[in-house]
Symmetry: C2
Subunit: 401 residues, 2 copies
């Protein structure tokens, strides 16, 4: 869906950013992004659970396991560097060596991410030859180029920023993301990059990132697909000069990370391939959060529910059907469903006094809330998705390998 | 996909069939089907695993549990009799009582199935008022009307028949089915009705039906949806006069049932909503059949794979990606993939000598075979599906509740 949202500049003090075209994409479109911290930064990541994974993902996982202090993140679009065997690992090494030389850092102080077509060897020479120019372009004003350099089928730039005071210091969290297909919860299901000037230790950053990602990036689905490459990375460089975060500071920091993640996650759904609606599936009255998520996910990935929302049809039969096959032992006689606030199903049957004209008019809204009560407990969860339109098929049938 | 297949008349000796319009569907389209055995018939069924289930499904499960000897099957289309609370159960009773009176049988000797819109109370009075005419129409020539009476969004009639000799007797298995959306494996995921003149005991029939359904009806998927109503029923009335099946006769009988089920299952996929291709996903080299099925299912339900096949694009990246997120612990460096016989991926990388023009021309075929080797064991499985086209979205966005 087209949304005229402002794209905040995600600049964070103590970092510089750049984006350029190195020849991976045609027509000069930006395809190489670099963000560098002016001092060592603590890093954390959340990675795809796909068993088939890009060497770039493996590189980041190994790097963070050995030493979570890094200096830079490089991202290329136009090629996923996935399923290319030993060549893929070589590409990571060549890129890291080249950037390490140019930036005067160690290769293992660099995180790498890639996105684009799978199975085509990454022409890393193009990236390496772009490195000097990329370094020269680094600036505190390069963030929008950096955000643009990671886009693939994205129609919109995705940036977010949040600032708050902590113990008298200005803490900034800024980030950018990409993704509009192959988006599915319970993973880092796209590329997301977060930067903050806060001083945080590695363990705390990892905890905070996980807490911020679960209800945001891990709660969105476009098409139930889980990519080989996706990750969310967060770098914290301490440029704010705050004393390292203490336990009592954690909630404020997690909330800031979560706000940025939530904004980026929402931007991804709004830019979902072919999307015309933003759908929130909320499940309450569940025995556990896990069960609530499982039911919400079943509804949010149902092709029949998503095409019904595209057709603006309040087809609750498809919703209750998807609740029933989620695998969670629900009791159909306790299920309540409302659509954008209008009760539709009560205890498994159509609710009394349902007005089709009122329902139809509510379905015309861009934001659709499907609220499901299971009547079994107190746990709840939300999953965010978009509808399923002709354009999803067009985009994905015409995309050429 | 349009297919000019012959629709064999599924008539089975000792049964009579009829179909008529009782007013559930507009414009006089057939919406009520009855098949009656001229003597008590042993019955078995396989039912949806959806937790939200139609009272018609519950009726059949209870009936077969108590007494597997029945006389007739009645099916209505145009209304699923699902999610209508106590009214749904009442509807089953009223229909059964009315037919029992007309056919001079017990209500519990009748099996009931329904298909159509969910959540709208079934106007059972229309069915009851159609019962006398339905009884009058019963004939050994009524099978094509019976097959037509169960259709909903189906574009084609689905019938199959297989005859074979057993101990000198002519055994016939005939059947008809419906379904083109809400089709997903691991259940009776549509309506299928099988009839045979063989004499079989109830336990053997149940075993044989399960064996026939697993690799056929339970191995197809159109859209990953699992309906509230679906079932496969089989009635065996012994009119062939054979001595009850012995253990040594079982393979021939299972094979006959399987042939009919396979033909009907294939007809459902060919009529999949918006389908233009018939896709077989074969997974070999797995550690277990369960894992092979899980991987095949992941690929067969991937929207990105299905839209790629619609676009005739040999996008193996999407295939290997879906293999990776199936949940089965695969080793990406052992994965082989071929498309319609052309090797495409070898040990996780693009196979040597892949010719794009040859691949593209193979993709133009109506039948697409995606053959995946996991290199981990000897188990294998096949799942059948169709592609994902504009028309799937159109059909399901325009369908009105």
């Amino acid at each position: 869906m087209k949304k005229k949202s402002n794209h905040p500049n995600p600049a964070v003090p103590g970092f510089k950013a750049a984006g350029l075209n190195c020849g991976l994409k045609a027509k000069g479109a930006l395809d190489l992004t670099l963000v560098v911290s002016d001092r060592p930064a603590v890093a954390a990541g959340v990675f795809t659970k796909n068993r088939v994974r890009s060497p770039s993902v493996v590189w980041c996982e190994q790097t963070l396991r050995k030493n979570p202090e890094v200096r830079a993140v490089v991202v290329n679009s136009g090629n996923a560097n996935a399923c290319t065997g030993a060549q893929g690992t070589l590409a990571c090494k060549e890129i890291a060596n080249s950037l390490a030389g140019e930036l005067k850092i160690q290769p293992r102080q660099l995180l790498i991410a890639s996105t684009g077509v799978i199975g085509v060897p990454l022409p890393w020479e193009k990236i390496v030859s772009g490195v000097p120019a990329l370094n020269k372009k680094l600036s505190s004003k390069g963030w929008m180029d950096a955000a643009r350099g990671i886009m693939t089928t994205d129609l919109t730039l995705k940036t977010a920023r949040h600032a708050f005071k902590l113990n008298g210091r200005n803490i900034v969290v800024g980030g950018f993301a990409k993704g509009s297909g192959m988006i599915h919860p319970n993973m880092a299901t796209m590329l997301g990059f977060l930067f903050t000037n806060a001083a945080v230790d590695a363990k705390t950053l990892k905890t905070a990132l996980r807490q911020a990602v679960d209800p945001t990036f891990n709660s969105i689905t476009v098409d139930g697909e889980v990519s080989t490459n996706d990750c969310v990375l967060c770098l914290a460089n301490g440029a704010a000069g705050n004393p390292p975060l203490r336990k009592k500071d954690l909630p404020a920091f997690v909330e800031a990370l979560t706000q940025v993640c939530r904004s980026l996650a929402r931007q991804i759904i709004e830019d979902g391939e072919g999307a015309t609606k933003f759908i929130t599936v909320r499940v309450g009255g569940a025995r556990s959060v896990k069960q609530a998520r499982q039911v919400a996910n079943s509804v949010a990935t149902s092709s029949l529910v998503k095409t019904a929302v595209f057709g603006e049809d309040p087809n609750w039969g498809r919703i209750i059907c998807a609740v029933g096959y989620s695998g969670v032992p629900v009791n159909q006689n306790r299920i309540d469903i409302s659509l954008n606030g209008l009760p539709l199903v009560r205890q498994g049957e159509i609710a009394p006094g349902v007005s089709q004209p009122r329902l139809k008019s509510r379905m015309k809204k861009k934001d659709i809330l499907i609220d499901i009560g299971l009547g079994q407990g107190r746990a709840e969860a939300e999953i965010y998705t978009c509808d399923f339109s002709y354009d999803y098929v067009r985009i994905n049938a015409e995309y050429t390998t």
